[in-house]
């Protein structure tokens, strides 16, 4: 009796999870599969949503709702051809995304690792207060410091330059917050052992902390990458020059027009993140895990 109840419960749980999994993966599946559809097919599916004028509405009274279609009638690579070869601006903007995101990820990883070490393992006056400040600033939405930041960028001559986004990005406190949590997991005795073994603070940092906080750092790097790869607001404001804007903005712009293109571009755009994620999933999960456990 108990056993049977248990099995029913188990099946119920798995069903719930399966439904959730389908819901979670569905938008992605739509994006990816639709990128292989012809413009015609996509128009058929989405026109009711994107092309809302009276004439098109009156034309087809039988089907005035959009449809999600997972399997293309005909698999077409035309969209990819358009995105990659015909429209060179896609590649340019992709490159812009890379030029903005990578310096931020690398910079923030370095800066945040150093700072997180100080917060997690070194004692100094005002540590708790300063860290509280870091948390508060991290919680503030981007718009809060927008104006002064904008002015600051102006002062430093960074307006309309990638650096106006990269520099604040590097010094974002999110990485510090995340890494401090996972560095606190490292027992002090490792550091003390290294000190007794003759390591200088820099050596301790490089040879003990860095390897031991590997998962945390990797997770942080991935999260920072995701966050900045998806950035919309900052480039919108700081980069008036369309030639310098990253792909995230390009995507938000083509959505009105060529839908098929948008799907292909979206798919291409999420590829680096997805691959990155699948490759480093273990680290990401472990890193997030570590960051959540308090020492």
């Amino acid at each position: 009796m108990l056993n049977r109840n248990h099995r029913i419960k188990n099946i119920l749980h798995i069903t719930i999870l399966l439904v959730l999994a389908v819901l979670f993966i569905f938008p992605l599946a739509v994006t990816v599969t639709n990128s292989f559809m012809s413009e015609q097919e996509i128009a058929n599916n989405y026109d009711p949503v994107t092309d809302k004028n009276l004439s098109s509405y009156n034309d087809d009274t039988t089907n005035h709702f959009a449809r999600f279609q997972l399997i293309p009638d005909v698999v077409v690579l035309k969209q990819y051809y358009n995105v990659l070869i015909k429209k060179t601006q896609f590649l340019f903007m992709f490159w812009n995304s890379v030029l903005i995101t990578f310096p931020i990820v690398i910079g923030q990883t370095i800066v945040a690792t150093l700072a997180a070490y100080a917060f997690a393992k070194l004692k100094f006056r005002g540590r708790n207060f300063l860290f509280f400040l870091y948390i508060i600033v991290m919680l503030m939405p981007f718009q809060v410091t927008l104006v002064p930041n904008y002015l600051m960028a102006g002062q430093l001559g960074l307006l309309n330059s990638r650096w106006s986004i990269i520099l604040p990005g590097i010094f974002s406190t999110f990485g510090v917050f995340l890494l401090k949590q996972s560095m606190e997991q490292i027992p002090d005795s490792y550091l003390e052992a290294a000190r007794v073994d003759g390591a200088s603070q820099l050596q301790i940092f490089l040879k003990i902390i860095l390897p031991m906080a590997r998962a945390g750092i990797a997770a942080m790097a991935i999260l920072v990458f995701i966050d900045n790869w998806n950035m919309v607001e900052q480039p919108l404001i700081f980069l008036q020059d369309a030639a310098k804007q990253p792909l995230s903005l390009y995507l938000s712009r083509i959505i009105d027009g060529e839908k098929g293109l948008a799907f292909a571009a979206s798919t291409l755009y999420m590829m680096p993140v997805l691959l990155n994620f699948l490759y480093a999933e273990k680290y990401l999960l472990e890193g997030i895990r570590l960051s959540g456990i308090k020492g």
């Binding site: 709702f65 959009a66 919680l139 755009y269």
Partner: protein, 290 residues
């Protein structure tokens, strides 16, 4: 020989490690913060005269700001607890021995990595008046709903927010759950605790640090929903999802420094208050555990 104390507590060294971060932090966050505060106290961006709290007073009478404030508070108050409850639920499910647990975990966190702009089209197609959701409703014989243009829009945002953020919280909670020693449960079971007592007296209590962390992450992410909102409905969405970020963004476009900075500081004050409160609660519970 006696140049100073032994460098074990190493204040200066800490500052050295902290240096780069602190410099950037001061320059790009703290200083803007302070200047922002300055702007909120004067009446014009250049050569403005000091007007004290006048801007704040004016803002608190501004209907658009008030509605943005209410909407943001409303949304955060709903979405953060809901995210925490649901993700704890899923984490509890996943914490059992279930086939394909790791695959579920991976799937749950995938939305987090997907670029906002990539799926906006899908959300639009789903929630539009002529969208997929309405075609389902229509098929069932009900009148369609304009999801983004009615009070349902808040629900839509909620769905998008949950879709994106549950996975992250689930992983955090899962880690927290796995960190609770099994002995506690065994001891409780032997002491005759019911399942709900186990949950409330052990699981919840020992999850407090994790919960605090999830809370902070959930707040951060609740602000990030703005991206989706903005991409789906632009600068002036339906009134109930017109958030503080819309207000601030629009004020930025109009470069109304006084309004945007005062708004920012009112928002900051709220955040600080909430976090402080939670900090205290968390400290209390953590001390209780130890």
């Amino acid at each position: 020989m006696r140049t100073g104390k032994l460098k074990t507590n190493n204040g200066c060294l800490a500052w050295l490690f902290l240096g780069p971060s602190l410099l950037g932090f001061s320059l790009f966050y703290l200083l803007p913060f302070v200047t922002g505060f300055f702007y909120s106290l004067v009446d014009g961006p250049i050569n403005g005269t000091f007007v004290g709290l006048h801007n704040y007073g004016a803002l608190l009478k501004n209907p658009s700001f008030l509605s943005a404030l209410a909407n943001t508070a409303n949304f955060t108050l709903i979405c953060v607890p809901l995210n925490m409850i649901l993700s704890l639920g899923v984490a509890l499910l996943l914490n059992q021995k279930i086939q394909g647990r790791n695959l579920f975990r991976t799937i749950m966190i995938t939305p987090l990595v997907v670029p906002v702009a990539s799926v906006v089209l899908v959300w639009q197609a789903f929630f539009d008046l002529n969208g997929v959701l309405n075609s389902l409703i229509h098929a069932l014989g009900y009148p369609p709903v304009d999801w983004m243009k009615t009070n349902w829009s808040r629900m839509v945002l909620l769905v998008i927010y949950l879709w994106k953020n549950i996975g992250y919280s689930v992983i955090l909670f899962l880690a927290g759950l796995q960190n609770i020693p099994a002995e506690y449960y065994e001891a409780a079971r032997i002491d005759g605790a019911s399942q709900s007592q186990e949950f409330f007296r052990i699981t919840l209590v020992y999850l407090t640090p994790t919960t605090f962390f999830v809370f902070i992450i959930s707040i951060i992410n609740s602000f990030k929903v703005f991206r989706e909102t903005y991409l789906i409905s632009g600068e002036y969405p339906y009134n109930s999802i017109y958030m503080l970020q819309h207000y601030m963004n629009n004020m930025f476009i109009a470069l109304d420094y006084q309004k945007i900075t005062s708004a920012a500081f009112i928002m900051a004050a709220f955040i600080v208050a909430v976090v402080l409160l939670l900090f205290i609660v968390e400290r209390k519970i953590t001390n209780m555990i130890n």
